[in-house]
């Protein structure tokens, strides 16, 4: 199961992450860390003119390959989505979007970026299904 988790997609994203850096004139940004290992992820984003859709999302920080790949994948998956859609975007939706099985012990690593994004965008976590 674990070896599946490290399929090429994770290794690729962790080694060559997409959208690294800080968005200029960001509409929101936040930083969170994983107290178990000190990993930290910073997310910043900018919306389009209507202020409803995400136009640019970037991340920065240090972490394990799961946390880094998750952040990289997150920036790709949420760009273009509306803030209304993101309110309904659950933990499980994101894990599914990552496209690899995440073991329970590593869920915290995988969800760090999403939680940081929610903090940056002041999105309440959807508690109905996660």
């Amino acid at each position: 199961m674990t070896f599946d988790m490290y399929r090429q997609i994770i290794i690729d994203h962790a080694k060559k992450p997409k959208n690294v850096g800080t968005v200029k004139q960001a509409d929101g940004q936040a930083e969170r860390n994983n107290p178990l290992c000190g990993d930290r992820i910073m997310i910043s984003y900018r919306t389009d003119k209507t202020k409803k859709k995400l136009q640019e999302v970037k991340f920065d920080g240090a972490g394990c390959s799961i946390a880094k790949a998750a952040a990289s994948i997150l920036t790709e998956k949420v760009t273009g989505k509306s803030m209304a859609e993101l309110k309904k975007y659950t933990d499980d939706d994101f894990i599914k979007d990552m496209g690899v099985p995440i073991t329970p012990a590593r869920r915290k690593c995988a969800l760090l970026a999403l939680e940081t994004f929610r903090q940056a965008a002041h999105v309440e976590k959807d508690n109905h299904k996660h």
Binding site: M1, T2, F3, Y6, I11, C37, D39, I66, A105, R106
Partner: protein, 415 residues
């Protein structure tokens, strides 16, 4: 200590039921005893026997069961006192864990004795349990923390001690063995120096990683306080020990208050019970303590010197094998002299969490993270490390499984 039981090490493993299972289809290789240890059948049986045949609350009932459980409970206190060569069982206080033992001292002795301008001297290799309580106390009282540095070879810089022992030092709190570096500190020598230079200072030793692994002697070490935990030495969780010198314990106010710790109570006032019960409010962890007694029996039957020498053999093998793998950096002394079996390392740029997941897939349990020593990791210049640690039930084959699994992880990450 002469070994009473001449069992081979693989036979010792067989005394621990947890090793009868497979993890991910592989035999369990447990290399995280620094965090908590597995339990032998005799400890599990002792707890079971208590609940099945003589359980009742202690120090209360006038009936047979309560007498029997009280006697068994107090017998463990004597066993602990003998095990660490404490002058008296009344100087052995049962707590929840080593963390609570240290907090007990911080909240009672600390609040009574630390004042503005005082210095609390710690080391750079402390576990958060022997750092955060002193940070709180220092902030509350306007005291200052200072730290004995570590050298390039991951040992305590004892040469720096003299200049750090200024007259404002009221407390020296240090670990006997680092839970990250494996370094065993020369506490006896340090305490001698403290007594000479600042005789008014009190010394607390965090023994969470020492008492489980090698023989300690309170009379010889001469610490004022010494803290450790049952669960790191084959016993149940929820039982810790604070050893303290009688004259200090007698002058200290109680920590928690309530039942069992009083001599007499009126509506307006209360007098405290004698030592050690003054510091044990409420119903204690009776079953955990009984199990702890069985754990000490087990360790003594094998012999602490024999256990330590076995762990040193495994540590030497691990250091030799790991050093031979390109990209592995070990954070801790290379020589096994004055060193225990906690081996922290990094593998190229593989994050410790990723490494621990890959090892878990191969049935190997290691710790990944900062091991509750974040400032030490900052000092080492890393966010986190991977740590393998050894105990009496580990074997050379466990070390070699770790080595093979690390090579496999390097393949997966292509480093």
């Amino acid at each position: 200590m002469t070994p009473l039981v001449k069992k081979s090490w693989p036979k010792i493993k067989a005394d621990f039921p947890i090793f009868y299972q497979k993890v991910n289809g592989q035999p369990l290789v447990f290399l995280d005893s620094t965090a908590s240890t597995q339990k032998p059948q005799s400890v599990i049986n002792a707890v079971k026997e208590l609940y099945e045949t003589y359980y009742a609350n202690v120090h209360r009932g006038i009936y047979m069961l309560s007498e029997k459980s009280s006697e068994a409970y107090e017998l463990v206190r004597q066993k602990v006192a003998d095990f660490i060569h404490a002058p008296s069982a009344s100087e052995v206080i049962f707590t929840r864990n080593a963390t609570e033992s240290i907090n007990l001292v911080a909240y009672t002795w600390g609040r009574q004795n630390i004042a503005q301008g005082d210095v609390i001297l710690l080391t750079e290799m402390e576990h958060h349990a022997n750092l955060v309580p002193w940070q709180l106390l220092a902030k509350e009282k306007g005291a200052r923390l200072s730290f004995i540095p570590i050298t390039k070879d991951f040992r305590l810089d004892v040469a720096a001690l003299d200049s750090l022992l200024v007259k404002q030092v009221k407390l020296v709190a240090l670990t006997h063995m680092s839970n990250v570096l494996g370094t065993i500190n020369p506490v006896k020598k340090i305490i001698k120096q403290v007594r000479k230079k600042v005789p008014q200072a009190v010394v607390l030793v965090d023994g969470a990683q020492s008492v489980p692994h090698f023989a300690v002697d309170m009379k010889d070490i001469d610490a004022d306080f010494y803290a450790f935990s049952s669960h790191k030495m084959l016993g149940p969780t929820g039982v810790g020990v604070l050893y303290g010198k009688r004259e200090l314990l007698e002058r200290m106010p109680p920590f928690m208050t309530g039942g069992d710790m009083i001599a007499q109570v009126t509506y307006q006032d209360a007098q405290w019970n004698d030592l050690p019960w003054k510091f044990e409010a409420g119903t204690p962890n009776i079953a955990g303590t009984i199990g702890f007694g069985a754990a000490i029996d087990y360790l003594q039957a094998i012999g602490m010197d024999r256990i330590f020498s076995h762990e040193q053999d495994l540590t030497a093998l691990a250091i030799k094998e790991l050093s031979a793998i390109p990209g592995i950096v070990i954070y801790g002394p290379r020589e096994v002299k004055d060193r225990g079996g906690a081996v922290a390392f990094s593998v190229s740029d593989i994050h410790p969490h990723d490494l621990a997941s890959i090892l878990d897939e191969q049935g190997i349990a290691v710790r990944a993270g900062h091991h509750c020593a974040q400032p030490l990791h900052e000092k080492l210049g890393v966010e986190s490390t991977t740590r393998a640690s050894f105990y009496l039930y580990n074997t050379e084959s466990d070390v070699m499984s770790l080595v093979a699994a690390l090579k496999k992880a390097k393949e997966i990450f292509n480093v």
